[in-house]
C-alpha cells in the first residue's frame, strides 16, 4: 500500500501505462488514505463512487493501450473549481450545497487527459487567508508537527491548505490549487511540497470561483517539480471563454527540465532581506544561492525598490476586486438565503450569516478603497504602484533570467495563531505578492527544515511566459536539496506496512 502512496505522479504514469499497477488499485489506495487521514479535514467533499467508476473506465482504456497523459490518476481539486454535479462551496456557508451544472476549463482539461476526481479540498473561505482556518467547514490541520511542540496542531498554510495537506499527507498524489497572492506557494512551502503559479493567463479562470480576477491563477501542487510540470502542462490552455486567457502556447515544460543551468543568471533581490526575516530562513536562502552557483549559474544581486509597497498594494487591489466579485452572492438566485420581509433585510442577513469574518473584513476593505473620496488615495495609488512593481521586474529581467527568494518569512504556525492580528497574517504573503501583482510565473520548492523540523521552501520567479526557466531552476534546487523529510504521519504509515 505505501508503495502506491509514495509514488510520484510521473512514476504512477509509467507504471499505469506498463499495466504494472491498475488505476483501480491506485485510486482505492488514495481513497483509503483520505479516510485514514480524515482528521486533517483536508477534503470538503470526497467523490468516492465517481472516482472508482472513473478508475475502472481508465483501466479499460489502459488495457487497450489508450488513455491520456494523466490516465487513471486521481487528483484532488481545490473546492474553488466548479465541478459539474459535484458540490462546490469555496468553503463558504453562502455556497453550502451549491452544485454547479458546469465544469471549469482547468478541470475539464484534467478529465480530458484521463485524470480522475478524488475529491474537493478544503480552503480558506473564498480563498482568503494564509492559514486555511477561515473555512466554513473548519480549519485544515497540517500533517506536520514541530519538534519543539509536537502536540500542537499546525496550519498547512492557505488558502489552498486542503490541497497542500492532502499532497503532504499522501492522501492525493497531486492536487490543484489557486494562487491570488501566494495561495499555492505559501501552503506548499509550509507543507513541504512543490507549488507553482504559472503566468497570469496560462490557466483559464472560467469556472473558478473568483476572488480577485486580475490576480487569480490556477496551478499544480505536487511532490516533485517534474510532477508540477506534467500537471501544469495539462491544466494550461488558451480559452476563448476567458478574455484574459493567454493565446501563446505553453512550451513543453519537460523538455528542458533536467538541463544544466550553467550560464543562467539568477537575481537575488536585496529588498527581500527584510528586518524581520528569521535567521534560519535567511540561511536557507543563502544555501539556495550557493547550490545554484555550484551548478554553474551566475548570481547577481539586484534592487527592486518598490518591493516594500507590494503587500499594501496587494491588500488594496485584492479586496477591491473581491468586494465586487462577491456582490453576486445575494441570496436571490442560488446559495444561502435568509428570508426576510423586504429585500434589503434579506441581503443583509444572507450576507451577514453567509460570509465569515475574514471575507467580510475584505469586502469592507475593498468597498472602502473603491468609495468616492477614497478611490484616488487608495485604489488609484495602488494601481500606480502595481505599474512601478511591473517596472521593477522588467528592469530586473533585463539582467537576470530568474529571481530567487524565500517563499515565506517563516515556517508554519499553530492553528489559532495570528487569528486576532490580520496584519501579521497578511505578512505571510510578503514574498509571494509581488510576482502575483505582476502576473509572473513562480514556484515554491521545499529545500530544508527549520530548527523546529518544519519545511521551508524557496521561490523562483521567472519572466512572463517563461515557465520553462522556472521549473528548470526549481528542479535544480530540488536535486541539490534532496528534500526527503516526511511528516511523522506519513512515516507512521510506512512503518505500519
Amino acid at each position: 500500500m505505501n508503495d502506491f502512496l509514495n509514488l510520484s505522479l510521473a512514476e504512477a504514469r509509467t507504471r499505469l501505462a506498463a499495466r504494472d499497477i491498475s488505476s483501480t488499485e491506485l485510486t482505492k489506495a488514495y481513497l483509503d488514505r483520505i479516510e485514514a487521514t480524515a482528521s486533517l479535514n483536508a477534503y470538503i467533499t470526497i467523490t468516492h463512487e465517481q472516482a472508482m467508476l472513473g478508475a475502472a473506465q481508465s483501466d479499460a482504456r489502459l488495457a487497450k493501450g489508450e488513455g491520456g497523459i494523466l490516465e487513471g490518476i486521481g487528483i484532488a481539486v481545490k473546492d474553488l473549481f466548479c465541478t459539474n454535479g459535484v458540490q462546490t462551496t469555496a468553503a463558504s456557508r453562502i455556497l453550502d450545497g451549491f452544485i454547479p451544472m458546469y465544469e471549469s476549463t482547468v478541470t475539464t482539461n484534467l478529465w480530458n487527459a484521463g485524470a480522475i476526481l478524488l475529491g474537493k479540498t478544503n480552503l480558506d473561505e473564498f480563498a482568503m487567508g494564509s492559514s486555511n482556518t477561515t473555512s466554513y467547514y473548519g480549519a485544515v490541520e497540517s500533517p506536520w508537527r514541530s519538534t519543539d511542540a509536537p502536540d500542537k496542531k499546525l496550519v498547512p498554510g492557505g488558502s489552498s491548505g486542503g490541497s497542500a495537506a492532502a499532497v503532504a499527507a499522501r492522501s492525493a498524489i497531486a492536487a490543484i490549487g489557486t494562487d491570488t497572492g501566494g495561495s499555492i506557494r505559501q501552503p506548499a512551502s509550509f507543507s513541504g511540497i512543490v507549488g507553482m503559479k504559472p503566468t497570469y493567463g496560462r490557466c483559464s479562470r472560467w469556472g473558478i470561483i473568483a476572488f480577485a480576477s486580475s490576480l487569480d491563477q490556477a496551478g499544480p501542487m505536487t511532490r516533485t517539480v517534474e510532477d508540477a510540470s506534467i500537471l501544469l502542462q495539462v491544466m494550461a490552455s488558451y480559452d476563448p471563454k476567458d478574455s484574459t486567457s493567454a493565446q501563446a502556447a505553453m512550451p513543453n515544460l519537460l523538455s528542458d527540465l533536467n538541463k544544466s543551468i550553467k550560464g543562467m543568471i539568477i537575481g537575488v533581490p536585496i529588498e527581500y532581506q527584510i528586518d524581520s526575516l528569521p535567521e534560519e530562513t535567511s540561511k536557507i536562502w543563502k544555501q539556495g544561492v550557493n547550490w545554484l552557483k555550484s551548478e554553474g549559474a551566475d548570481i547577481v544581486y539586484i534592487s527592486m525598490p518598490h518591493t516594500k509597497y507590494a503587500l499594501a498594494t496587494y491588500y488594496i487591489i485584492a479586496p477591491a476586486e473581491a468586494s465586487s466579485n462577491l456582490a453576486r452572492y445575494d441570496g436571490v438566485r442560488y446559495g444561502l438565503r435568509i428570508n426576510e420581509k423586504n429585500i434589503t433585510d434579506m441581503y443583509t442577513h444572507t450576507r451577514t450569516e453567509g460570509f465569515g469574518e475574514e471575507v467580510k473584513r475584505r469586502i469592507l476593505l475593498g468597498t472602502y478603497v473603491l468609495s468616492s473620496g477614497y478611490y484616488d488615495a487608495y485604489y488609484l495609488k495602488a494601481q500606480k504602484m502595481r505599474n512601478l512593481l511591473y517596472q521593477d521586474f522588467n528592469q530586473a529581467f533585463e539582467k537576470v533570467d530568474t529571481i530567487l527568494t524565500p517563499t515565506t518569512p517563516s515556517d508554519a504556525f499553530e492553528i489559532g495563531d495570528n487569528k486576532d492580528d490580520p496584519l501579521k497574517m497578511y505578512l505571510q504573503d510578503v514574498f509571494t505578492v509581488p510576482a502575483s501583482l505582476v502576473g509572473l510565473p513562480s514556484i515554491s520548492v521545499p529545500v530544508g527544515l527549520s530548527k523546529r523540523g518544519l519545511p521551508i521552501g524557496l521561490q523562483v520567479i521567472g519572466r512572463m511566459f517563461d515557465e520553462n526557466s522556472v521549473v528548470r531552476i526549481g528542479r535544480t534546487l530540488e536535486r541539490a536539496a534532496q528534500f526527503k523529510a516526511m511528516t511523522a504521519m506519513v512515516e507512521d504509515t510506512t512503518k505500519d506496512e
Binding site: 473558478i208 484574459t244 441581503y347
Partner: protein, 486 residues
C-alpha cells in the same frame, strides 16, 4: 430671439436647459457579453446564460457585433471614436442586477463629441452636441404582478447590450427635446442599430432639466429617469421646469435629485436626494481587457454606412425638386424614402410625392397598414400616374382607379380597361356632347357671345360632367373654342 422658449414666472422669464441620456437597446442576435439570445418578448428566463445569472466562476466575453453597432451609431453621430476604451463595473444591489454590478463604460467610453442636427419649426437648423456614447449591459426585470406576496425575476433582459447616448444640456425647450429624440431614433433606424420602440423599452430616456434667468449661467439640474414616450418627455420637462421655478421664486434652492415622472398624475416625484445617492464604486472590470479597435474596421464601417436622413433629405430636395415639407415626410422612414425613390424614377417626381403622401398614406392609414404591406407597388403606382400624365385618364378618374387598385391589387391598366374608364379621345363623341350642352344652355351661349367670357369654364365643366370625366379637358377646350369663338 423671440422664437425662444421661455416660462413666465412671478419674477420674470426663465430659460430651460435640457440634456438627454438615451438608453438604446442594440439590435443584435446575442447579448453584450454572453451568447444568449437578445430578442424581446420571450417567456421569462428562457434567454439566460450562466453568465447572465451571475453563476460563480462565469466570465464575460465581448460580443464584437454589439461593438460594431455602437461604432456605426457613433459614426452616424459624427462622434470621435476612441480606439482604446474601457469597461468598468458600476455597483449597486438590486435583485434585477445579478452580478451586483453593471458592466458599463465610464472614464473611457467608446466615443465622445458627437453632434445631432435638429430641423427647428422655424426652418433653422440647431446643432446639439453629444458628450459621449458608451456600451453597457441592461438589467433584468422584476415581476410584481403575478403574486401578491412574492416578486419574481425575469433575467431575459439581463446583459442585453445598450448604448447610452448623452447629450450636452444644449436643448432649450420640450419641443427641441422631442425633435432630438425623434431624430436620434430616426438615425438609429436608418443604420439598423436600434429599433427605437419605446413601448417595448428599446429606447428609454433620462432627462436632465435646469432653469435659469436669461443671460445667467445654467442652474442646478435634476434628473428624471426612465421616461418611455416622447409625449411624457414633453410633459415631464414642463412639469419639472415649473417645479424648479416655483422653488427658486420662493427663495429656496434646487438640490441635485433623481426623480421619476408619473404620467398618470402628470407629476414629478423625488426618487432619491444627493445624500441618498449611490456610491457606484466604479473600477475597471478586471475580467475584460481594454477594448482596442483598429482604424481599419472603423473606416470599413464608415464606408458601409447607408445614406443618413440629413443627406437623403438634401439629395431628394435637389434631385426631385421637392418641398422641405414633403421631403421631411418621405425621409421619416428609410423604407418610405426608398419606396418614393423607386416611384419617382418611373414617374413625375412631384406628382409622385403628392400621390404617395396624400393618397397612398391616406389609404394605408385608413386600412391600418404599413407601407411594407401596401397592396400597391411603386411600379403599379407609377403606371397609374403615367396614365394621368399621358392624358389617358383624368386625375379624378385616377382616384377611383387607385381605390380599386388598393382594394384588389390589380394593375391600373386592367382596371381602366375593365371599367372602360379611359378618357374618350374620339372627337365626334365629345363634339356631340358639346353640341348638346350648347343647345341646352342657349341663353348662356348668348351671354357668352355678348362678352361674358367667364362662362367658358362653365361649358367646360358641363362637358366633363356629361362625359362622366372621360373627356380629355384639352380636347374639350379646343372644341369649345372652335364652336364659341368662331
Amino acid at each position: 430671439m423671440n422664437e425662444s422658449y421661455y416660462i413666465k414666472g412671478k419674477t420674470g422669464l426663465w430659460e430651460v436647459a435640457i440634456g438627454l441620456e438615451l438608453h438604446a437597446r442594440i439590435i443584435s442576435k446575442a447579448k453584450l457579453f454572453s451568447g444568449s439570445a437578445s430578442t424581446f418578448g420571450g417567456d421569462a428566463n428562457t434567454q439566460v446564460s450562466l453568465l447572465d445569472a451571475a453563476m460563480p466562476g462565469m466570465l464575460p466575453v465581448i460580443n464584437r457585433k454589439c461593438v460594431e453597432q455602437a461604432l456605426r451609431t457613433s459614426l452616424a453621430l459624427r462622434a470621435k471614436i476612441n480606439l482604446h476604451s474601457v469597461f468598468e463595473r458600476k455597483h449597486y444591489f438590486y435583485a434585477d442586477l445579478p452580478h451586483g454590478y453593471q458592466i458599463t463604460q465610464y472614464k473611457d467610453p467608446i466615443a465622445n463629441d458627437g453632434e445631432l442636427l435638429l430641423d427647428l419649426p422655424n426652418g433653422k437648423i440647431k446643432s446639439v452636441k453629444i458628450e459621449r456614447l458608451q456600451l453597457e449591459q441592461d438589467a433584468g426585470k422584476l415581476l410584481h404582478e403575478q403574486n401578491p406576496y412574492t416578486t419574481y425575476l425575469d433575467l431575459n433582459r439581463a446583459g442585453i447590450a445598450l448604448m447610452e447616448i448623452v447629450s450636452k444640456p444644449d436643448l432649450s425647450s420640450p419641443e427641441e427635446a422631442k425633435l432630438y429624440v425623434n431624430k436620434l431614433r430616426l438615425i438609429m433606424r436608418y443604420i439598423g442599430t436600434c429599433d427605437g420602440n419605446m413601448q417595448e423599452g428599446s429606447l428609454r430616456v433620462d432627462v436632465n432639466v435646469s432653469v435659469n434667468k436669461p443671460g445667467k449661467p445654467l442652474g442646478t439640474y435634476c434628473e428624471i429617469k426612465n421616461i418611455n414616450s416622447v409625449r411624457f418627455i414633453y410633459q415631464a420637462i414642463e412639469q419639472e421646469a415649473n417645479r424648479q421655478i416655483n422653488i427658486l421664486e420662493n427663495g429656496c434652492q434646487i438640490y441635485k435629485e433623481t426623480c421619476l415622472f408619473d404620467p398618470m398624475k402628470n407629476k414629478i416625484q423625488s426618487m432619491r436626494s444627493k445624500e441618498e445617492a449611490h456610491d457606484y464604486r466604479y473600477f475597471k472590470d478586471p475580467d475584460l481587457p481594454p477594448l482596442v479597435l483598429e482604424q481599419l474596421l472603423i473606416d470599413e464601417l464608415n464606408n458601409e454606412l447607408p445614406e443618413l436622413p440629413d443627406a437623403k433629405k438634401a439629395r431628394l430636395m435637389s434631385e426631385f425638386n421637392l418641398s422641405s415639407y414633403d421631403v421631411n415626410i418621405l425621409v421619416e422612414d428609410c423604407t418610405v424614402a426608398d419606396w418614393y425613390e423607386q416611384l419617382a424614377k418611373q414617374s413625375n417626381p412631384k406628382i409622385a410625392a403628392n400621390w404617395m403622401i396624400s393618397e397612398l398614406f391616406g389609404a394605408l392609414n385608413k386600412a391600418g397598414k404599413n407601407l411594407s404591406d401596401s397592396p400597391i407597388s411603386p411600379k403599379a403606382l407609377s403606371e397609374l400616374l403615367n396614365m394621368i400624365e399621358n392624358g389617358y385618364i383624368s386625375g379624378r378618374i385616377a382616384k377611383t382607379v387607385f381605390a380599386v387598385m388598393f382594394k384588389t391589387g390589380k394593375s391600373a391598366i386592367s382596371i381602366v380597361k375593365e371599367k372602360n374608364l379611359s378618357q374618350t379621345l374620339d372627337h365626334s363623341i365629345i363634339e356631340n356632347i358639346i353640341d348638346n350642352i350648347l343647345i341646352a344652355h342657349a341663353s348662356n351661349v348668348k351671354k357668352y357671345k355678348e362678352g361674358k367670357h367667364k362662362l367658358f369654364s362653365f361649358f367646360v365643366g358641363e362637358a366633363i360632367k356629361k362625359s362622366q370625366g372621360r373627356a380629355n379637358p384639352n380636347v374639350v377646350n379646343q372644341l369649345l373654342r372652335d364652336k364659341l369663338d368662331s
